[in-house]
Structures are given as C-alpha cells and as structure tokens.
C-alpha cells in the first residue's frame, strides 16, 4: 500500500488503563479496514493509557472510525492530527 502523506493521520487516544483496552481499540481499526502503520502506548501513573496511532487513510474513514472510538466505554479522549496540522 502506498502511503500518501496527505492521508496520514495521527490519532491520539486516552483511555482508562484496563485489560483488553488495546484489543478494543485495535479491533475497531481492523473492523473498519484501517491499517495501523505505527502505534505507541504507554500507561501513566494516573491510571490512564496514552495511545498514539499513525494510519494512512482518507479523512472520511478516519472520522467514521473516530466516531466509533468515542463509543468505547474506556475511551476518555480522542484527538486527530492530519496533514493540515503539520
């Protein structure tokens, strides 16, 4: 798959740190056919987990996916950065 820089989105997600939360998040990406290019996660001392996910996909798909991410009970916040921010 070619990576068009215009398609790059960085999705920053803050979740409560609990078992399976990685599975819930990554499951949504695969369900919406959005391939994860890079992902880094760390858990803070505040009981929260911080996800930074890089994907190459169009705005509409990313928006749809983000709408679903908000519905995961453990998710506290979702922010998207795209090429317009760089």
């Amino acid at each position: 798959m070619t990576k068009r820089s215009d398609d790059m989105h960085i999705i920053n997600i803050v979740t409560r740190n609990s078992l399976r939360v990685l599975q819930r998040i990554s499951g949504l990406f695969s369900r919406y056919s959005v391939n994860i290019d890079q992902m880094s996660i760390f858990s803070g001392h505040d009981g929260l987990s911080y996800f930074s996910v890089i994907v190459y996909s169009d705005d509409h798909s990313v928006q749809k996916l983000t709408n679903q991410l908000h519905k995961i009970v453990e998710v506290c916040d979702v922010r998207i950065l795209n090429h317009k921010h760089f």
Binding site: L19, R20, Q23, R24, G27, R31, K64, N67, Q68, H70, K71, V73
Partner: protein, 561 residues
C-alpha cells in the same frame, strides 16, 4: 451475614428490579444456580432449552417492556451459544445483561474444560463486557453493566464471572450503588438550532418524517404524534419504527425499505425535507445510497453520534434523545397543510392497493396466502396484539399486513435477521406482558431453528399463539433465486416434519388449515384458546413478497410486481 459472589450477583439483580431471568445451568455457573434456589420467590427463572433461546427471550422481554433483559449461561458452549443473540441485540439496540459463568480464574488460559474466551469473542458485539474474578467486584460490575445496557443507545453487555468469584465471600456487607460515570453526558441542543430546523420544516412543501426504533426507545411516541398532527407531516416508519406510530392515522404513509410500501419509498426521493428520527439509514431502508434522497434536506435526530453522517449525509443534525428533540421541535413548528403532497401519497397508495394489496387479500378457492392469514389475525385482534415475527417472507408479510395500533408491539430481528428469533422472543414478550395477546409469526424454516423452546411454553404454561406460515420452502431465498438466479432453486426445498405432531408432543394444542374456507374458523380457535395454540397454515408455495426494491436499486425503483 457474609454473602458469596453468586448471591451478590442476584442481589444486584434485585436492586435493579429484575424479576425475570432466562437461562440454562452448567458447571461454571453452578454457584449462581445454587444461590438462585434461595431466590425462587423473588426471581422467576425461565429454563430454556438452548442458550440461544435464553438470550433471544431476554430480547423479546426487553423489546416489549422497555426494561433490561437478563440471561444466564454457563462457560464455554453455554456462552458461545449466546453469541447470535448478543449480536442481534447489538444491531437492534436492545438492552441486555448476559451473565456467563467462567472457569476458575486459576484455570483461565489453560484450555480448561468448557473454557472459552467469551470476553474476546463478544468484544465487537457488545456495548461493554467485563470479566470478574473477585467476589467483591461483582456489585460494581453489575451496576456498570446495567448502566451501559440502558444508557444512550441501549445494547448488550456481558458479565463473565469466574467460578471462584461466584463462590468467594464478600469481605464487606453487600452494598449496591448505581453506576455514576465521571462525566455524565447530557445531550442538549440550543433553541436556535431547533428554531432553524422548525423553520426548514415550516417552509417545506414536501416534508417527510422517517420514524425509527429510537422513537420507541426514547418513549417519544406521543411527541411524534403531536408534532405530526400539528404540522401535518406524513410519517413513514422503519421496521422497528412501525409500532411507534398508529397505522390507522391518516398521515401514516407506510413502511420503508426493501419490502416496504410503495408510497414511502417513492416519497423519499420526492421529499424536499426529510426529518429522520431515531433511525440509522440501514441499507435495507436506503437501497442504493448514491440514489438516495439527493434532492432532500435531511435532518437527522439520533442519540448515537456515530450514526450521524455514517451512511447518509445530513443537512442538519441533532445529537440527542428523540423525546427531547421532538418536544423542543414541537414548540416551533407551525400548522401546515401540505395538500398536494398528501395527494401524491394517496395516488401512490392507490397504485399499491390495486396492484398488490387487493389481489393478495382476495380469497381464492384452493390456496391461502400468507397475507390473508396475517390480515385476518390483524382484524380479529384489532391491531392490539404483540406480533413477534421471524425472518424472511413471514416477517415482511407480518409487517405489511398487521396494522399496529400500539407501541412495543412489533418484535422482530431487524438488523441481524436472525432466523429462529420469533419463538423464543415471543416467550420473552409473553413473560413481560401476561395480559396482552402475543402472536409468534414464523415460517417453516425459522421455527425449526429454535423449535425446542416449545418446551418452555409448555413448562411455563404460557398462552403464546403460534402462527406458522408453512410453504415448505425457505420462501425469501427461493424468491431471490427465482428473480435473480434464473430459478436455480438451490437447497431451499424443505421436507418438513408433522408440526402439529411436534406441538402435541410438547403438550401444545394445534391444528392445520389449508382450505381458505376454513381459515377464519381456525384463526378464531387459535385466538379464543386460553392456552398456547399452534396454528399451521399451509400457504401458497410460490408466493413472492411485493413491493420489492432489488438490491442495488434506488428507493424509487421499487417494483410492484
């Protein structure tokens, strides 16, 4: 006195005012069933014959009552048997709490007997799920489960409790606190937005309301009726919206979608403003999206933000509960007439009436049609029964010909299209509504997918009426094969058992009717029966359901024949 985890789970149910549970015992949920013995007078447990029956019965209970449906199953196969019903509840927004037993926490991951990763399996088909491994965590997990099952757009939740958590004693006294999320979402919308939307509606020449499941979930049936009466806007309903608006109202234009009525589908592509309330533009409703209501300003009201602009781009939207949105909109809409627009409806309706409805309902000498049986039941129950339909032709006919006059009356599997749904769901609906007539409408294919649940009707002495529309075919698949696959009837021919013999073996009265002249007497006998009754109607073998919107075509390309 200290209680164990199993008792704490049951106490949690009592705290949530649960008095009916559908379930099936097994090894990993034995402590719960042991505790349940002591709660027999408080919790009515309905013993199903297959776990899929339990979860679907819980759905029927929830859909017909508005309460949360609860079911129990053991670990492994018990839990995996729930999966279809959970997926069904997810798509149809049914609030469920499914409690599954799990192997001892020390055995998890060892491929222990009857171990299945039910949390992993149900992750994409639940609103939320959790595994509990300590007794003291059970009350909070249950509170959270009920909260998420009900909150916003309802849905199913799975609580998987390990056997050691069920057996373990709570360290402290049992205390049940309703779950309070840290940030309570209050969905509000500014008056300005409602004024703007009302303005669009007030200036519309051809407005159309699409009412969905959300109207009923929000309890906004009265608000919808008031709005419609005030502004004189025609209302079309989705499959799950059907019972949310009286079908005998002069502004009711019919059912949307693939096998819906002619007028509402055509009107969708003629309207200048569409107000979609609590519906999600499912593909069975919209047909080809590139040809869907391109001329209209679409105003979408939905409680689930992810539904806004998911399939159909809206001109404006309100992200809120239907009751709240309609109440506010009602303040600003103005009386209107829309006479020319309503005349179009009458003209389109007349076409369908003459070309489809009249010929279908005209009795023939030799064979009964599905529509005739449903129409007769509709007239004789005055549209006030709870009709639980299965999936396929029987479902489409039940929806088209049963004239619903009350909400929480049409129970069906819309999103997932789960064959075998009707019988267990009817059991659930009857448990929730002992005083209402509950009629299970099924086909000969669907009834056999959960026919074992006849035993529950018998054991619980539930006066559920079963109307089996038997054409000895998988009728809907056969229809598609006839229309789109050059009549290659591939595996749709059913050699059926003696259904009445089966019903009798389960202790249920029944009869078969195939002569049109005897249909009325047979329906009367079924409806007059004080106990359960199984009426098998042998129907036209090759009947097709029309109108029909072929897959890939637009809503206005719906065919009458």
């Amino acid at each position: 006195m200290k209680i164990n985890g199993a008792q704490a789970m049951l106490e949690s149910l009592l705290a949530e005012n649960v008095d009916v549970v559908f379930g099936y015992p097994g090894g990993a949920i034995l402590p719960v069933y042991d505790a349940l013995y002591g709660y027999r007078d408080k919790i009515h447990h309905v013993l199903v014959r297959h776990e899929q029956g339990a979860v679907i019965a819980a759905e029927g209970y929830a859909k017909s009552s508005g309460k949360v449906g609860v079911c129990f199953a053991t670990s492994g196969p018990g839990a995996t048997n729930l999966v279809t019903g959970i997926a069904d509840a997810m798509l149809d927004s049914v609030p469920l709490v499914c409690v599954t037993g799990q192997v001892y926490s020390t055995l998890i991951g060892t491929d222990a007997f009857q171990e299945a990763d039910i949390i992993g399996i149900t992750l994409p088909i639940t609103k939320w799920n959790v595994q509990v491994t300590r007794a003291e965590d059970i009350p909070a997990a249950m509170a959270k489960a009920f909260h998420y099952a009900r909150e916003g757009r309802p849905g199913p939740v799975v609580v998987d409790i390990t056997k050691d958590a069920q057996l373990g004693l709570l360290e402290e006294e049992f205390k049940y606190q309703l779950h309070q999320p840290r940030k309570e979402k209050v969905l509000k919308c500014s008056d300005m937005k409602f004024i703007e939307i009302a303005d669009i509606l007030n200036n519309a020449e051809r407005p159309l309301i699409l009412a969905g499941n959300g109207v009923g979930i929000a309890g906004a049936e009265d608000e919808l009726l008031k709005l419609v009466n005030k502004a004189t806007i025609p209302v079309a309903c989705t499959l799950h919206g059907l019972h949310n608006f009286p079908s005998d109202h002069e502004l009711f234009v019919g059912l949307l979608g693939m096998h819906g009525n002619y007028a509402p589908n055509i009107m969708t592509n003629r309207a200048d403003v569409i107000l979609a309330v609590g519906m999600r533009f499912d593909d069975r409703v919209t047909g080809n999206l590139t040809k869907y209501a391109k001329q209209a300003k679409i105003i979408h009201i939905d409680i689930d933000h992810a539904e806004i602009n998911k399939n159909v781009k809206s001109y404006m939207h309100v992200h809120a509960d239907a009751k709240y949105a309609l109440t506010n909109l009602l303040r600003y809409v103005q009386p209107n007439k829309h006479e020319a627009w309503r005349e179009l409806f009458l003209k389109l309706h007349q076409e369908e009436h003459e070309q489809v409805i009249v010929p279908e309902l005209t009795m023939q000498k030799d064979v009964i049609r599905m529509s005739q049986a449903v129409n007769m039941v509709s007239e004789k129950t005055d549209g006030k029964a709870i009709v639980v339909s299965d999936v396929g032709q029987n479902q489409m006919v039940a929806m088209r010909y049963y004239k619903f006059k009350q909400s929480k009356s049409h129970i069906s599997s819309g999103g997932l299209g789960t064959m075998g749904f009707a019988l267990p769901a009817a059991i659930g609906a009857k448990m929730a509504n002992p005083d209402r007539e509950v009629i299970c409408v099924s086909g000969d294919g669907g009834i056999q997918m959960n026919i074992q649940e006849l035993a529950v009707i018998s054991q619980e002495k539930l006066p559920v009426k079963i109307l089996l529309l038997n054409n000895n075919y998988l009728g809907m698949v056969r229809q598609w094969q006839e229309m789109f696959h050059e009549e290659r009837y591939s595996f749709v021919d059913l050699h059926n058992p003696d259904f009445i013999g089966i019903a009798k073996a389960y202790g249920i009265k029944g009869s078969t009717v195939s002569d049109p002249a005897e249909l009325e007497a047979a329906v009367d006998e079924m409806l007059n029966s004080k106990e359960a009754y199984f009426l098998e109607v042998i129907v036209e073998k090759r009947e097709k359901v029309f109108p029909m919107m072929p897959q890939g075509s637009g809503v206005d390309e719906i065919r009458l024949s």
